[in-house]
Symmetry: C2
Subunit: 415 residues, 2 copies
């Protein structure tokens, strides 16, 4: 099916249970879908932009209220919307990192943090992970001291993921923030995998900046995200322009430098805003999400040779598994090679695993219903049972011809 | 009508002829609307992201082809999509402007250019406009010399709007680029009001960078835009990351620093791409757009006391008018004060003028049909005739109860 002459309709979420690791929290709610249809035009939200002419001050649609609620939602004083979490990292790095300044990230940090530091001219240094792939306060404190010695000044900034993108492991945010404070190091909380799917309170964690991703975890169109901070730091981070036209004498009012003025002027912010009531409510269901995910993890663990590389028991729905001694052994003799696995999943109505992946891969059950997770678990278990010693089957058994019911297929519309 | 419990449906484009100055080129095409519905989910375009894992290399949907066509469309060698033209300015400024470096903008430059320079630590200097509100090559050359004397080095960059946002006047891009080249000053062509509505060829102009806005002129959702350059500059502007994890030894592949990796991962790029065939075609109709606009301008000029502040005859559909001696005189005694004007326009099915504006204001007829422009012209003329000496009318005359026909009301769907 085509949505234009050249563009296929994307129907992954409609025809399959999607366990892609990065897409789970960014599926639009039905309300977001309606909002982007009604507000899709370029500068749509500017219809009623009045003095002082800034996105976060627009009253109709109520972007001003949305900004205040967004700040409260992440437990900070002020919030702004950004074109992705990465642009939030950039704004913080540009504000606080001088050329040549050291900045701490971690051994599990996302590449966008490194790029933001690089763009600001900072020197990235990593906090090592421990044997369990976790970042501890002890390691952070040790690295702050080392870096301070190396550069003759403490790091300008410390990035910490609450849950990282590689393992979905939880890190000692609160304790790290406490250590950082002793050394007067500012802390950026990367909530790309938390803000919008579980409760987050930045002040409670003791961090200086909270960054979240709209398209990763807030059921919003890309690029979108949130950057929040305390009243104290808002003065610097959200500073207004001092630029002047030397010939005309023009000044540029209350436009904020790091935001370059307004950021998300149409479909993106309206999608965020329409999903927000659902997002605010769904974070309270995080324990159910974990319970659903656990069924799938347990099914995978029951397959001989399959290892869960993420911390266990799981505290996040994003999980990294090692199937080199299970599915990859099948791949070695299967006529489809590594593709047998995604192909078999596809036959079962399961999508979102990179074709050919049979060794180390990630999946995310966030947002799936209990029934979908039961099905996923049984699909993995069936696979094992049907294939004996995990050998390929010439054709799918009856149990594999499962066709997901309508309600199962469309979890995205449940909000 | 509501699209969620709290969000009104936006229907400005459906119920009125919208002459808002900044929204005209950003109305979605029907194909863009379809694409954002099918691809609205956060990271939707990442389904088939494979090595080397970068947005502009994705083959399905064909983002790779789209990027190549985009570069050709603006007459440059390489193009990237950005979250708005302003993020294109930022990428160029961050790459070429050192702290304390002078940068030339013009007396008519948009604030986002100043903010991009400020964020990069540059010192903005303006090229003055001439008596006709135009930026000439002579003024540019003179200012390059002055600034070079003042700072002991030439400007790091020169921003030039092909058409500016204040008057919609055309500036001497080609001649300015020629002068700049003599002094070895790089030129950024700001095509926010050109790329996507009229033909633009960056190499033909002799500029180094072409920046366009998706939501302003390419019938795309916000925030979106294009940043294009020559092969020569692509090496610097689109440089890939050199950052390394000092503990893990990680490197980050081909991710581009100024883009922070990927930029528009879902609805925004798919909206741009779906509109692109229409945008590429519509630029060839620019002369018709000007002819349509001229009818409206002529009607306004026929009203005693109304002055066109933009250059005349018009070379752009964005126009600034001064109605202090016409509509504003009515406002002085009208019971609705300045609101009489937008109220009268509203009664005639015309929207997009800031409520209360009767003195100096802007409008844009881009994308309206000939019939809509005829109607607009007659609405302005009627207003004059009905009101005698431009005095308020107690109630609208018959001719004012015009109800636009379906085809008139929905120009956005004509593509």
């Amino acid at each position: 099916m085509k949505c234009t002459r050249e563009i296929e309709v994307r129907d992954l979420e409609e025809v399959a249970i999607n366990i892609d690791p990065i897409q789970a929290g960014g599926r639009l709610t039905a309300d977001a879908m309606k909002a982007i249809i009604a507000w899709g035009d370029g500068y749509s939200v500017c219809d009623n932009c009045r003095k002082p002419f800034r996105l976060d001050q627009i009253k109709k649609p109520p972007l001003d209220t949305f900004h205040r609620e967004l700040a409260a939602f992440v437990g900070m004083d002020q919030a702004r919307v950004m074109p992705g979490a990465r642009r939030g990292f950039q704004a913080v790095a540009d504000t606080y990192v001088e050329k040549g300044s050291p900045v701490l990230l971690t051994a599990l940090s996302h590449y966008t943090g490194f790029l933001a530091v690089e763009a600001a001219g900072g020197i990235p240094r990593e906090i090592p992970k421990d044997g369990g792939n976790r970042i501890t306060a002890g390691a952070a404190a040790a690295r702050i001291e080392e870096v301070t010695k190396e550069f003759g000044r403490p790091p300008a900034l410390l990035f910490i993921d609450h849950f990282d993108y590689q393992f979905g492991n939880e890190h000692e945010v609160r304790e790290i923030a406490r250590e950082a404070r002793k050394y007067d190091v500012k802390v950026l909380y990367n909530g790309a995998y938390t803000v919008g799917i579980m409760p987050v309170n930045g002040k409670d964690f003791g961090v200086d900046f909270v960054v979240g991703s709209g398209h990763k975890s807030m059921a919003s169109p890309a690029p979108s995200g949130v950057l929040a901070t305390t009243s104290e730091h808002a003065k610097d981070l959200f500073r207004t322009t001092q630029a002047k036209g030397d010939v005309t004498g023009r000044a540029f009012g209350v436009k904020e430098v790091e935001l370059l003025g307004c950021t998300l002027m149409g479909a993106t912010i309206m999608g965020m805003m329409a999903s927000f009531p659902h997002v605010r409510e769904r974070v309270s269901r995080w324990q159910e999400e974990l319970a659903n995910g656990r069924m799938v993890i347990d099914a995978l663990r029951s397959i001989e040779g399959t290892k869960v590389l993420s911390e266990y028991p799981r505290k996040h729905t994003l999980t990294r598994v090692d199937t080199r001694d299970s599915f990859d052994r099948v791949a070695q003799t299967h006529k489809k090679r590594g593709y047998f696995f995604t192909s078999a999943l596809g036959e079962r109505g399961i999508g979102g695993v990179i074709p050919g992946a049979t060794r180390v891969w990630k999946f995310n059950t966030y947002g799936l219903t209990k029934r979908q997770c039961e099905y996923l678990a049984s699909a993995f278990r069936d696979r094992e049972r049907d294939s004996g010693q995990l050998r390929p089957q010439p054709r799918p058994a009856t149990s594999l011809s499962f066709s997901p019911s309508r309600s199962t297929r469309m979890p995205r519309r449940r909000a």
